[in-house]
């Protein structure tokens, strides 16, 4: 049995997060929860990047993935902000926190997002 190194642990953690996020995306109907799921997936991918920085312990830590993670966080921030703004605007007009095809209630009413 190989002794789990730190980067392998981070990588597995990232993979678990990605899996959880994917499940959340598929299972939830309300848009805000889907956006949260996306953020979880994103965090998982960033963890993968971080883990890959230490893929060769002899060479030391690789700084490039850190730059990529920071860029990724910024992009995720912008995307989340846009998504939330759209969800709020849509919810105001449609009185719903989900897309029309995902509506569950017959009378169109929905709990607060």
């Amino acid at each position: 049995m190989i002794a789990p190194s730190a980067s392998l642990l981070y990588g597995l953690c990232g993979a678990v997060l990605i899996g959880l996020g994917l499940y959340g995306f598929v299972a939830h109907r309300r848009l805000i929860r889907r956006v949260l799921a996306f953020n979880v997936i994103g965090s998982g991918i960033f963890l993968l990047f971080g883990a890959s920085a230490y893929r060769d312990p002899a060479a030391g830590a690789d700084p490039v993935p850190q730059a990529m993670i920071i860029t990724g966080i910024v992009v995720a921030l912008a995307a989340t902000a846009l998504a939330l703004a759209l969800i709020v605007a849509h919810a105001r007009l449609a009185q719903s926190g989900a897309l029309p095809e995902d509506e569950t209630h017959e009378d169109g009413s929905e709990d607060a997002p």
Binding site: G11, I18, F25, L31, R34, F38, I41, G42, I45, L48, F49, A51, S52, R55, D62, V64, P65, M68, T71, G72, V75, A78, A79, L82, A83, L86, I87, A89, H90, L93, A94, L99, P100
Partner: protein, 500 residues
């Protein structure tokens, strides 16, 4: 020459940064967006002309940003393919901004659009240029994300309930696609320590990690290119946006994700592909063609017909994967399918943008885009109907248009590779395109009903913009020798030999 090292850098800098600065300026100055767009166009145009001259004269080149070479730094790559896409984008953006001057300009009645359209359009342009010039998978990711976010915003710019829902649906698909792409990039980096395309080409092999990464990247980009079965977000999004925005969304945005697919498969990872995945991609493209065309036949709104047509036409592009490298002793040229796909992407960009602009002008004239209202509109707007007809000719793949040249190249490659099925699909798709484009055209040529309201007037100058675009698509077919030789500058070896 003393500035021979300087001018490529200046050209690329202009092309990349002028739209971004223009977007910032447009956001700051508010109502003067149209004028700033014009200035941006001039600056970018100078950069593009310089780039074309350089590539035509000296061939393709790369530029390391800041002088830092990969794998630590980011490299930009300018070859014939990139320059071809950049030029077409500039032409299309020029026409769109010309037509958008009225609904979103200084005299516009609706204020939100006048403030937001220009920064968004210029940001979109900047993102596209960034994608076309990048030589690095992560840079492509950033450009792709910028493009996606701006495109989503453009879909929802009018703020109506349906368009907001369409924008959110687009966003869900697009975010999923981006995350898959990022996952693939992360896996590739973890395996090889670099994301530069040129360096990856030497290092990527058939390891399981590479295969998963390639699958993730392809799936993500396929979702963004609205490949069947990930296409359901496209028709509501493109038909809900205002017409100039739809022109950008249909004509340019899916081309960017397809461009990345081309770069990835033909330059970064040509050895991974097996017959299975190539046939799968081609098959999904064929399904997209049939499905999109059949749905387009049932629509009653002009913009929906055009949007479903985009779904169908984007399917053509995926035929490049099984067909690349199809040559035979009798044909005197190679790389037919690759060039054909590129020709198709370029001529479709121009023709589809032209069509959406025509639809926008028609909506301005009659107030809606339901087909029966279009009856007899050829008398009131002959230039627009003519532009629509020319664009339709390109989409149907009838000679002498760019669409025909693309179709001919791909059909010849198909027979040369011994896979005539794809050629048959191309013919069927062309006929279906004729079927669903015939309805609006026939209605336009019919006699107007006696009690129909008189269409409003649209200025001839604005009607000229889509006409110029449609003519450009036709000219791409007639004068195809030059562009054909040009886009082959710096083309990858896999384009000639095929992917298998």
């Amino acid at each position: 020459m003393t500035d021979s090292a300087l001018s490529p850098a200046i050209a690329l800098a202009l092309i990349l940064t002028a739209p971004l600065f223009g977007a910032l300026a447009a956001m700051v100055t508010g109502r003067r967006g149209a004028g700033i767009a014009l200035a941006t166009m001039t600056a970018t145009g100078i950069g593009i002309v310089t780039l074309l001259v350089i590539i035509a004269g000296d061939g393709d080149f790369t530029l390391a940003i800041g002088g830092w070479e990969p794998p630590l730094g980011i490299q930009l790559r300018a070859d014939g393919l990139a320059a071809g896409f950049i030029t077409t984008t500039a032409l299309v953006m020029g026409a769109i901004l010309a037509v958008a001057g009225k609904p979103f300009g200084a005299g516009a009645t609706e204020r939100r659009g006048a403030y937001t359209f220009w920064p968004l359009a210029l940001l979109l342009w900047g993102a596209l240029n960034a994608i076309f010039l990048s030589g690095d998978l992560f840079n492509l990711y950033v450009g792709l994300e910028l493009l996606t976010l701006v495109a989503v915003a453009l879909v929802g710019i009018e703020g109506k309930r349906e368009t907001l829902a369409a924008a959110l649906r687009y966003m869900m698909f697009a975010l999923m696609g981006s995350l898959l792409y990022l996952l693939g990039a992360a896996l590739l980096y973890a395996a090889h320590g670099t994301l530069d395309i040129a360096l990856l080409a030497a290092r990527v092999g058939n390891a399981p990690g590479d295969i998963v990464a390639a699958a993730a990247i392809t799936a993500g980009l396929a979702a963004k290119t609205a490949l069947f079965p990930f296409h359901s977000w496209l028709p509501p999004a493109h038909s809900g946006a205002p017409a100039p925005a739809s022109a950008m969304l249909s004509g340019l945005v899916p081309k960017a994700s397809f461009y990345i697919l081309l770069r990835f498969w033909f330059e970064a990872a040509p050895d991974i592909a097996g017959t299975g995945v190539l046939t799968l991609l081609g098959g999904l493209g064929a399904l997209a063609m049939i499905y999109g065309s059949l749905l387009a036949l049932h629509q009653n709104r002009l913009k929906l017909i055009i949007a479903y047509s985009t779904v169908a036409q984007l399917g053509y592009l995926f035929f490049v994967f099984p067909l690349a490298g199809g040559t035979s002793a009798a044909q005197p040229w190679a790389a037919g399918a690759w060039s054909g796909a590129v020709f198709h992407a370029l001529s479709h960009a121009m023709a589809k943008a032209s069509m959406f602009l025509c639809a926008g002008l028609i909506i301005e004239a009659i107030g809606h885009d339901r087909l029966p209202g279009m009856k007899g509109i050829v008398r009131a707007m002959p230039m627009t109907v003519f532009a629509f007809a020319l664009a339709a000719i390109t989409l149907m793949g009838l000679p002498p248009s760019g669409g025909f040249t693309a179709k001919y190249l791909m059909m010849t490659a198909s027979f040369a590779a011994g896979q005539p099925f794809w050629a048959l699909m191309l013919i069927v798709a062309g006929l279906l395109a004729a079927a669903y484009l015939y309805r609006p055209l026939a209605l336009a040529f019919a006699l107007p009903d006696a009690d129909a309201p008189v269409p409003g007037a649209v200025s001839r100058a604005r009607q000229a913009a889509p006409l110029v675009l449609a003519l450009a698509a036709i000219l791409l077919g007639i004068l195809s020798a030059g562009p054909f030789a040009f886009i082959r500058i710096g083309r990858p070896g896999a384009a000639v030999e095929g992917l298998e």
